[in-house]
């Protein structure tokens, strides 16, 4: 499947780019993240916790809709979906 991935800092720094087309084996979010981490192995420790779950410091939007704690990474994606990955911070 081919989707578009957008990364904000610091993930874009690790990947060396902030936007890419991603071809991956499988159909769900977990498959897409695994595919992404195969291309950029240093992303794995940023995106996943020690148990292998997506770290709760990470926000993932699928086509502009946030993935919440209730959403499972087995949620299926569709061809052409846009995955946005970033870390929320606050301040002024």
């Amino acid at each position: 499947m081919r989707i578009k991935v957008k990364l904000l800092k610091p993930f874009s720094d690790i990947a060396g780019k902030d936007e890419m087309d991603l071809d991956f084996e499988g159909e769900n979010i977990q498959n897409a993240l695994d595919g992404l981490c195969e291309l950029y192995p240093n992303l794995r420790k940023e995106l996943f916790n020690e148990k292998g779950d997506v770290d709760f410091n990470i926000n993932i939007f699928i086509n502009d809709k946030p993935m919440t704690a209730e959403d499972d990474t087995t949620t299926n994606l569709s061809e052409g979906d846009i995955l946005l990955i970033f870390m929320p911070v606050a301040g002024g």
Partner: protein, 610 residues
Amino acid sequence: MLNRKLGVVDLSKGKIEIQEVSESLRKALLGGRGFNSYYLWNMVPEGIDPLSPENVLIFGAGFLTGTLAPSSGRFNVSAKSPETGFLGDTNCGGFFAPELRYAGFDRLILKGKAEKPSYIYVEDGAIEIRDAQDYWGLDTLDVQKAFRKDLGQVEMAVCGVAGENLVRYACIRTGIKNAGGRTGMGCVMGSKNIKAIVAQGTIGIEIAHPEEMLKTVEELKDYIMKSKITPILGSVGTPLLYEVSNAFGGIRTKNSQLNAWSDDFNASEVEKFVEKMISCSSCFVHCRHRNTLGGEGPEYTALGLLGSNIGMEKLEDCIKMQNQVNDLGLDVSSTGTYLAWATELFEKGLIDEKVTGGIDLSFNDFETYTKLIDMISRREGFGDILAEGQWAAEKLNDPNRDYLIAVKGLPQSDPHDVRYMKAFALGIATSSRGADHLRSRPTLEIFFKLPPDVRNKIYGAEIANNPITLDTKEHVVSWSENIFATIDCLGMCKFICHGFNSPHFVDYDWMLRLINAASGWDYTDAQLRAVGPRVIDIERLFNMKHGLTKAHDTLPKKYFDDPSPLKVAKGHHIDREEFAKALDRFYEVKGWTPQGKVKDDRIAELEAIA
């Protein structure tokens, strides 16, 4: 640690009193914001003009300021606000507050008005009122250079030209960009003929248990540095927030007519203007930028309010304007909000060139905005009208302030359009100093993947894991208010406060360890957790004494009536009925009456603090 004094300076009489501070008062309020609010509540008479000599202006360092405690170099400046008529209070970092403590003082209270331009000089237990004629008229950077040239390596809090000219949202500055920005405290300095507080000290702060303090600080440092958030704040700083907010349509744009803007203001673009990252006193986060255009920043606030909110298309123009605003001593948040307000009113035909003195206002007009910012700071022409801030509503033909993004008369501090994140909306509606994210911003609402059990444990209640509902968010806002007030009393930065940027960071347990190691007290968790609610109630009492009612706990009309037009937030707004119910629940959580008043038995309890 506990021997720092209170200096009370009567500027009208030229009289200075140095007072001890009781331990019971310290245990009730710790320091910083809590003490300032307590003195304001007790000292500022009802109904006074904030620009009259009857107003008092308080500079107060935090309880841990000047110690090794991480990010603890902060202080609060407080007075009745000339911008809102309610609580004026602003929190600032830099190096001034530790120096004030090294000079022997926790806090200075300025009363009355000096006959001529003056500054306050504090050194090793002594306070002087000195002539500031040579420094009057200088902008915030030049005046600091002049003081350093004349007095050596002093630290200072100053007002700029805007403060001297009584612009109602003039700020206080230390260093190039550290700002006590909100609620017009620089204006109150100007009204008292005070250009600066200058401090130089050599009195070290005695720590009761130095080994325990070192151990605690080391452990805390490791804990904070392990967080995934810390290195981002230290390498990118707050500009990252722009793209985070923009991602779901939460960026104030063109006076909130839109809610998303260009990627040209993203952190990767800001980075091109960054010379290096720097820090405040005792901080290892170093979230601030020195920029290549002669200033510091831009922070997220400047990117939004002097960027998207006034329709700027070129990042360089935004940075130049924020440098200008900083030099003149204006508040970035208020300046950007008022410029956007006036521009929309002009574009809608509610005001014309007769009002603006021939100025043609349109979004993205860098030349006009630059000129206007200078005119505001000098109160020239149309700038004189805008210098009045929200009080210019009648002259701007918007008497009900329908187009102004403000609460309690204070323009919203941050660029976040809160129509989607409902807890953010409740937070700015109920904040004691007006529309301000730094009083209660529950950022964990954006942590969409935070497990519900973790969220519920933090807030001590069952919280709806859904950012677009107001249900249960009274707990989220109230909890955040309490812990942020507590960390303000300690003089520590919210960037490392539990619940602000992370579900980790400095929580009540860490605070307790630092307090007891530094002071030698046997302070308890219950005593510590009582401080925040006490401060919030005192601020509520101050505001009610000065005319605040339940009707002031509200939101800008646009947030209620105009749904967001773009991105995920499209169609979202704040429902008036839902908001009214949430406000009732919020008052209940606070222990206030249905009218939002502090109850009589609580008032008696607070009046007994001494």
